[in-house]
């Protein structure tokens, strides 16, 4: 009995000392602050879809590149596919709950001989649509940084 009591006392003392000796001298355990994904900062799927629709309207009006898309936008099914793929790319690339199911950029643009000027025009139309919805510069630049590397698979193929 005495031995058991001694063991209990040692255990209790150990527990008290262990609790007292925390890593943080202030007694606060630092918790990591979860950073919001670019997807949520952009406003989620509805905001991305609004920007994409504006982007498509901008492209249709842009004489530098609208002939590239004319047949696609004239066919409702093909337009829907293009729109969905664009939304999926932005959504998935920004950490959203989407999966891009289209062709790779390389496969999709093979043989089209897209020029640097045409790619630049497309980016300008995208930036214009982002500006129209007052997307902050930080989020805009993050999105362009995700999409920008696709240029090498699109231009001159």
């Amino acid at each position: 009995m005495k031995t058991f009591t001694k063991m209990l006392a040692v255990l209790a003392l150990t527990a008290v000392l262990g609790t007292g000796c925390s890593k943080d001298d202030n007694g606060d355990t630092p918790t990591p602050v979860p950073t919001a994904t670019l997807y949520s900062r952009l406003g989620g799927i509805n905001a991305i879809s609004a920007v994409t629709d504006q982007f498509l309207a901008n492209v249709a009006n842009d004489n530098r590149i609208n002939t590239r898309f004319a047949a696609t936008v004239a066919n409702p099914s093909r337009l829907q596919l293009l729109r969905n793929n664009l939304i999926d790319q932005i959504c998935a690339g920004s950490g959203g709950p989407c999966q891009y199911k289209g062709k790779t950029m390389l496969a999709a643009h093979q043989g089209m001989n897209i020029t640097d000027a045409e790619f630049t025009a497309l980016v300008e139309d995208l930036v214009a649509s982002l500006n129209q919805f007052s997307v902050p510069d930080k989020e805009k630049n993050e999105l362009l940084a995700i999409l920008g590397p696709m240029k090498s698979d699109i231009v001159g193929k």
Partner: protein, 132 residues
């Protein structure tokens, strides 16, 4: 011969039923659940009355999701919810609101951006079989 025809028809019927079931039972992605849109482009004849912004007038229409105006070329492009309003009704509505005449831009016969693995007709068939 009659048997062959009967079995062929049964097989076709079963295939169609399977396709119909797939079209309606497959889980839709977040993107596929969005309201589908179409895009129309017109040449705008005339200029809006002083103080009227064509883009601002068109954008607030409930069926319109986006609008772009190119003042240099006179092009107006609109993405809209085609299930709510077909293109010709939208054109009339815009003309009525703005007092401008719109001329449809002829679509290119072929080509375009081939970005989806599944052909446009297959996706269109899935959409048309789906009960909304």
């Amino acid at each position: 011969m009659k048997k062959l025809l009967r079995y062929s028809l049964i097989a076709l019927g079963l295939a169609f039923a399977g396709f119909f079931a797939y079209a309606n039972l497959r889980p839709l992605s977040v993107t596929e659940r969005l309201e589908p849109v179409a895009l129309a482009t017109w040449h705008v004849n005339g200029t809006p009355a002083a103080g009227n912004d064509l883009s601002a007038v068109v954008k607030v229409m409930p069926e319109v999701t986006a609008c772009a105006v190119n003042k240099n070329t006179g092009l107006l492009s609109v993405t809209y919810k085609y299930r709510h309003m077909p293109a010709d009704e939208l054109e009339s509505a815009i003309e009525h609101r703005t007092g401008l005449a719109l001329e449809t831009v002829e679509a290119a016969p072929s080509g375009g951006c081939p970005v989806h693995r599944i052909a446009g007709w297959y996706h269109g068939a899935l959409q048309s079989l789906r009960i909304h």
